[in-house]
Subunit: 181 residues, 2 copies
């Protein structure tokens, strides 16, 4: 991702937090993470986030999705003594279409990113509107997409070790570098 | 606590969530917990809360304090294999004066509830405004009070076992029954 794209996505994320009444410190605003997953397709496949706390026991983040932006399919594997991350997604604003392992839902509401269809394999749909939440147990393949207005999602979880996440799309790099323009 | 006082505190809590733009489901609104700690002094010593999730790994709550309302001094002890609850308080709206073990702050900003002075023993002050947060490690005595406008605080933590909390005030019951009017 180019530096200019990163800075622009940060500003857009900051504006969404402000609109939702979610206050960040200046330091946090400066550290908003923009995850493009090395796909060079941020508008369609990406995620913006702030990690409030991530210690040896628990983690809390705020996730932002732009309109129709998708966090690609992945799972959280066991790491050492940790059985893998358990996470609860709570929708704060907008709408989220979440897909997990399980019986396929007919006529899903998300739009699978064109050209990446092979890497979206689970289709059991859960729709989250503000105030609604869902907990994902370790080892569950999942992906999610915001509706037309974008979404803000609080994530409450066990310890995050994002670098171990297993993505279905082999082209994905979870932690790519930012390139200066 | 009388049923009428409980219902009134619930409505007031609900209004504070609405004002802050924090959306609850109807079921959650109906289940707002009003903790008076058996002191019959809710306006000054009490806490209102919603538990979003509390599983074997982590817990997330939203805490509400009315103006100048105080959550009495307590600590989270070890329980079985658990070393005790670690918790992160993140101020979402209003202002919170938090006191923990440590060097006493001169001229603290909270008002110690009159008649309960013996049960407030730690005076190291941390002030939390929206976007600011603080993590309390297990076994740390702490208490907190909202400023003049009340406060909403997100609590991210390891598993909650509120029934084991140790309060400094021996009159406190964490889980008193509601009496019908």
């Amino acid at each position: 991702m180019k530096r200019s794209e990163y800075e622009s996505a940060k500003l857009r994320t900051k504006a969404m937090f402000e609109k939702a009444g979610i206050v960040l410190t200046d330091e946090e605003s400066g550290n908003i993470e923009v995850a493009g997953f090395g796909l060079n397709d941020l508008e369609r496949q990406g995620l913006e986030l702030i990690t409030y706390v991530n210690n040896a026991r628990y983690c809390a983040k705020e996730l932002v999705l732009f309109p129709r932006q998708t966090c690609p399919e992945h799972l959280h594997p066991p790491v050492g003594d940790d059985p893998g991350k358990t996470e609860t997604f709570r929708c704060r604003s907008g709408k989220v279409f979440l897909y997990v392992d399980g019986q396929q839902t007919n006529g899903i509401q998300a739009v699978v990113p064109a050209g990446s269809e092979d890497y979206y394999t689970v289709y059991h749909e859960i729709v989250l509107e503000p105030g609604q939440q869902y907990t994902i147990v370790p080892g569950t393949l999942h992906w999610f997409q915001a509706g037309e207005e974008g979404a803000i999602v609080s994530e409450f979880s066990s310890t995050s070790r994002d670098e171990f996440d297993i993505f279905t799309d082999p082209r994905i790099e979870r932690m790519p570098v930012i390139e200066e323009d």
